[in-house]
Amino acid sequence: MNSFDPRTLAKPVYESLCQLRAQTKDPERLKEQKNQAVELYTYLSTWGLLRLKAEEDALSQEGKKEVVKEFFDCLEKISGQNEIAKSNGLDRLMGLGVEEYLGLTGLGLALAQEFSFWATAIYHDVSGGD
């Protein structure tokens, strides 16, 4: 039987950001990561999932790109929607039914809020991102 786990959304986000931060030494890149993590929610609620996925390729700053990749990794893990984190994820999102896409957007918004929260905690000593 499944138990209710209030950490379902927080856990993968916390682990992703911790790992990303631990791998990064460049302070500028850390700043970019933090900025992107806190801005995910406003980007997503204004522009939607498709455009965020497209940003993953378009972003020139590596730090920002890494966070968007982590976001889609977490979304794939939690939703069980295979392959949205891969490079062909955009096609996968295009192929979803309307209900599925809207449901995934709702989940994505909740997840983006988690990124915002954990970024503030995990990158607490990185300035310029809040």
Binding site: A37, T42, T105
Partner: protein, 256 residues
């Protein structure tokens, strides 16, 4: 228990004071069970209370304050939270279209005690055989002509409406909130730090709140209700919520 209703027509963006400030986003108050934006009753109550100059009348309607009298007393009026009824979303085909959903309309019908049916999703005042372009989506099929829509809007300015399924409406509301990006510039006009964002309920939304008379007014409830109605009528335009100095939160009050 009878609920009295007062409507709030938003003239400017309304910032209802966030319960959270995550990252660089100044969010707004949301209902915990639907996550939809709302106006906490204390916001409306506080504003109306502040507009009563006469101390006795103020205490009679809203109760006294700490430090005034021996103990706190209850007022003779209660005020409920402000709920969304219709919210505008951008439309390429119609400029602006107001959306609502069965959940919000059902709530409103229950509280107003009206004997109207809850419209089906995709009921619209627009032509049902022509596509409707909403933000990011084109609705072509399954639209239903809705002739009784005027009984549900309570605002002559709202003429283009569509009822969306609950889950789609919630997502669209989330994505149609008024959002402002803010930056801080240094003395050399260079952006300092990152962007900041503020959310608000967009202007032209229609909201409402319930109010009534408490047990405190036992025996004089009619007089109390009239008194409060007069107070509402004398505050036709009021400013509620946050960011007053930026001109946010102007609402037009009406009783029907």
């Amino acid at each position: 228990m009878t609920f009295q209703i007062a409507y709030l027509h938003l003239l400017t963006p309304l910032h209802t004071g966030g319960t959270t400030q995550e990252g660089n986003l100044l969010g707004i108050a949301r209902e915990s069970h639907t996550h939809l934006p709302y106006i906490p009753s204390s916001t409306i109550r506080g504003r109306l209370r502040a507009s009563v100059a006469d101390k006795d009348k103020k205490f009679e309607l809203f109760g006294n304050e700490i430090g005034e009298g021996d103990q706190l007393t209850q007022g003779s009026i209660w005020i409920g939270d402000g709920s969304l009824l219709w919210i505008p979303v951008p439309s390429l085909s119609h400029g602006v279209v107001w959306i609502s959903c069965p959940l919000l309309l059902k709530r409103w019908l229950r509280l107003t005690g009206q004997n109207l049916s809850v419209p089906d999703p995709y009921s619209t005042s627009l032509k049902a055989d022509r596509p409707i372009y909403l933000k990011d989506a084109i609705l072509k099929e399954g639209l239903r002509q809705w002739s009784e829509w005027k009984s549900y809007t309570k605002d002559p300015n709202i003429s283009r409406v569509i009822v969306l399924p609950d889950q789609h409406c919630a997502t669209l509301i989330q994505m149609s909130l008024w959002r402002q990006v803010k930056v801080k510039l240094s003395e050399h006009k260079v952006v300092e730090g990152g962007f900041r964002y503020e959310e608000a309920i967009p202007p032209d939304s229609l909201m409402y709140f319930t109010w009534g008379v408490t047990a405190q007014a036992n025996g004089s409830s009619r007089q109390t209700a009239e008194e409060f109605q007069k107070l509402l009528q004398s505050n036709q335009i009021m400013q509620i919520g946050g960011q007053e100095s930026l001109g946010r939160g102007f609402v037009e009050l009406s009783l029907n």
